[in-house]
Amino acid sequence: MAKIIDAKEAASLVKEHDRILCGGFLASGAAENLIDALVAQNTPNLHLCVICTDFPDRGVGKLIVNKQIKSAQTSHIGTNKATQEQYNAGTLKIEFNPQGTFVERIRTAGAGLGGFLTPVGVGTILENEKELIEVDGKKFFLERPISGDVALIRAAKGDKSGNLVYSKTAQNSNPLMAMAAKIVIAEVDEIVETGELDPDLIATPGLLVDYIVQHKD
């Protein structure tokens, strides 16, 4: 059973040096209330895993503007000047991953696998930092899983058992993040009674979700 808590209590579950997995793509499907509460809590030295670092005033971008992130694994920082400035200044370390590789690394962790082989990035400067493996004459990178301490995700609806349904392109990496962290906190637009969601449409089963937070605009 998921426990219903408020955003402030949820943020208190994130500790210094934690690796946080954040859902969202250009802030669509980002857990805005959880991020705001984490900004207010001002926990430093976090390691951030997210598809992209959103915008200075939206999504995980706010954590970067507030200088709470010491390192990040991501695929794109082009929409957030603060990320670029801190990266160029050397105060924020970034490991760039092709987007499909990044999300598959999260999926792999959540699925209990040791890694996977992908042709993406072979023949580029990523060869300097990756292990090449040849299978049947074809070159692949060995990619390792990425798991986290806390996942901060967003869904359209959650029931009191923690079952989640997502909305349109706000789904993106959220169901993957829910598989790969020790503590999973879901910010949902609407909390409903258990049994109200169509079981066929539940994308994240409640057994994966520890806490539910009601989103407030």
Partner: protein, 220 residues
């Protein structure tokens, strides 16, 4: 002779659109490639995809009709079509890498005569990250590079060898600019078509790469 910006976009996007076949699954990149959707030939229907998890994209919604949870990979609001479906990001990139995407149309900073493409980083200057570009270049069955022939300083973007770090190696199957259609082949870069507003000599003069000029060249 030079063209205004809208005309450049129209020439490139309408020519790329002719490469798409009925039923193709197609990913259009940000910028000029996005415009290709507006020039699909009569009777051709494609599955437009967006790597943030949308299959079946409509056009830009009218003002006031935007849905906060329906955006394309560039972050712009987009609308649904009756056949739209949504998937998570890992599923989305499995579609890209798994041989289910027929065509990707991408912009580029540089492309070379070996079909290499660079569009994600200018070291020391611009480091936005690769986003989904590497996955799309490696995964799509056909990569079409669609961009202006020269950069804002008038220098060729079609090179003998890319100078910027690559997005992917040897993947570009067709290059479409406002001046020409070119095909990287094992023999070299072949000039296939020249835009009706210009000529072969002008294309050669604007291109750093060595162009193979066949006897028969089309116009578009």
């Amino acid at each position: 002779m030079s063209l205004d910006k809208n005309k450049v976009v129209e020439i490139i996007a309408s020519r790329v659109a002719k490469e798409l076949k009925d039923g193709d699954a197609v990913n259009l990149g940000i910028g000029i490639p996005t415009e290709v959707a507006n020039y699909l030939p009569e009777g051709i229907k494609v599955w437009l995809t967006s790597e943030n998890g949308m299959i079946g994209l409509g056009g830009k919604p009218p003002a006031g009709k935007e849905h906060k949870d329906i955006i394309n990979a560039g972050g712009g609001f987009i609308s649904e079509v009756p056949e739209t479906s949504y998937i998570d990001s890992a599923f989305s990139f499995a579609i890209v890498r798994g041989g289910h995407l027929d065509v990707t149309v991408l912009g580029a900073l540089e492309v070379d005569q070996e079909g290499n493409i660079a569009n994600w980083i200018i070291p020391g200057k611009m480091v936005p990250g690769m986003g989904g570009a590497m996955d799309l270049c490696v995964g799509a069955k056909r990569v079409i590079a669609a961009f202006t022939h020269t950069d804002k300083n008038g220098s060729s973007k079609i090179l003998k060898k890319c100078r910027l770090p690559l997005t992917a190696q040897g993947v570009v199957k067709l290059i479409v600019t406002e001046m020409a259609v070119m095909e990287p082949t094992s023999e070299g870069l072949v000039l296939r078509e020249v835009a009706s507003w210009t000529n072969v000599d002008a294309v050669k003069a604007a291109t750093e790469a060595e162009l193979i000029i066949p006897e028969k060249i089309g116009t578009f």
